[in-house]
Amino acid sequence: MAEENMHLYEVFIRSKRGLDHKHVGSLHAEDPEQALEYARDVYTRRNEGVSIWVVKSSDIFASQEDDNASFYDPMDDKPYRHATHYVLPDSLNNM
């Protein structure tokens, strides 16, 4: 079946200039050009975007949420990375 050769693409859309591209979903296509046209037809029928990125799903290397405990472990005990950790006089008006 020819369909088995289709690739899965992830679709990212920039809704407005100045904003990041945001993941909106995925689709199947033969190649990137086709994926881009499908994405236009499927995800931007109501002017949802000014720019589309398509990325082959197989090219995305993702972290696993099950590993979060060990993966993010060193970040958990550092409250001093936050501005609120520092207690300063009120007269400074929110430095």
Binding site: S51, K78, Y80, R81, A83, N93
Partner: protein
């Protein structure tokens, strides 16, 4: 996907300026004048270099911080600066310049960075003064740049400003602790302010009338507020902050001007600024030499990563065969 166009340069330019005048961002794949691209590459890479070189004067005190808490805080801050350099190098790369080119320009002295990092950090109070004044000045500039016309730069600034919020507060907290301490500690804090105040004012660059890049930068909204406007904002906020410390700024001309609604202040020593900018700062040579050394001494790590990847690839191919 390239879009072919029959538009003339003048038409493209008009559309580009119209987009900017309409407060729309310019994004990497848009047509842009060469001078806009060049101007941005210069500014963003200088900004990135400043973040990375700025790790050195503060890094100097990591092993000497007075408590474990202060050490952990300073480590986290210096780590942030490295991250900010990375965000900015990435933003510059969207304009078609490579990381290697930018690093080479820094190491050859062709590219500049904020001259403030060419001053030594002599005492622990300097770490307080840098956080409060140097980061404070950088934040004033960066808050304004969140509205810069180039999308990737603006988005980088938003992220950086969010992360910077603790930098200034930790510096001020150091100054506050010293200002409430012994006479010697108060003197140390005052001495750090005396040395870092003027270089902090210089961070905003030359006066508007003498600024080589300002005209176009304002027209293209790369800069949203002029050097002098931003400097004034910084002076106004610092005068109030130094009062809480019960210390003083080393400028007898600072005085409230009712008419302007701002503090007047004295003239900057521009000869000193030029000396420091052109490599004559107290630590200029040391900063670049250290960067070169760190880059060269880190080569084995990059080599090891490449060798590991080659080995993995060979093993995978063997397994597949």
């Amino acid at each position: 996907m390239s879009i072919s166009t029959d538009k003339t340069e003048a038409e493209l330019m008009a559309a580009f300026q119209a987009r900017i005048d309409d407060e729309q961002k310019i994004e990497p794949k848009d047509w842009m004048p060469d001078a806009y691209r060049k101007n941005l590459i210069r500014q963003i890479s200088q900004h990135a270099h400043s973040e990375v070189i700025g790790m050195q004067p503060e890094g100097n005190w990591i092993t000497r911080a007075p408590t474990l808490r202060r050490k952990a805080i300073l480590l986290a801050k210096v780590q942030d600066e490295g991250g900010h350099g990375l965000y900015l190098y990435s933003a510059a790369e969207t304009l078609g310049v490579s990381r290697e080119e930018m690093i080479a320009a820094l190491q050859s002295g062709e590219a500049k960075y904020a001259s403030i990092f060419n001053y030594p950090t002599l005492t622990w109070a300097d770490i307080g003064a840098i956080g409060w004044l140097v980061d404070g000045a950088a934040i004033v500039n960066q808050v304004s740049l969140q509205r810069t016309s180039y999308g990737p730069y603006a988005r980088g600034m938003v992220r950086i400003c969010k992360e910077e919020s603790f930098h200034q507060r930790q510096g001020y907290e150091i100054m506050l602790a010293l200002s409430r301490g012994s006479d010697a500690q108060r003197e140390m804090a005052q001495d750090a302010i005396n040395r870092f105040w003027w270089p902090s004012l210089m961070m905003f660059g030359p006066h508007d009338a003498d600024s080589a890049h300002s005209g176009k930068s304002m027209q293209w909204k790369i800069k949203r507020q002029s050097n002098d406007e931003l400097r004034q904002k910084f002076v106004d906020q610092s005068v109030k902050q130094v009062e809480v410390l019960n210390l003083s700024l080393p400028d007898p001309d600072i005085k409230w001007n009712e008419e302007r609604g701002h503090y007047d202040f004295g003239e900057i020593d521009w000869d000193e600024f030029k000396r420091s900018m052109t490599g004559g700062g107290p630590c200029s040579r040391q900063r670049v030499a250290h960067h070169v050394a760190a880059h060269e001494e880190g080569a084995w790590v990059r080599d090891a990563l490449r060798a590991y990847r080659a080995k993995q690839k060979a093993q995978a191919e063997q397994a597949a065969a």
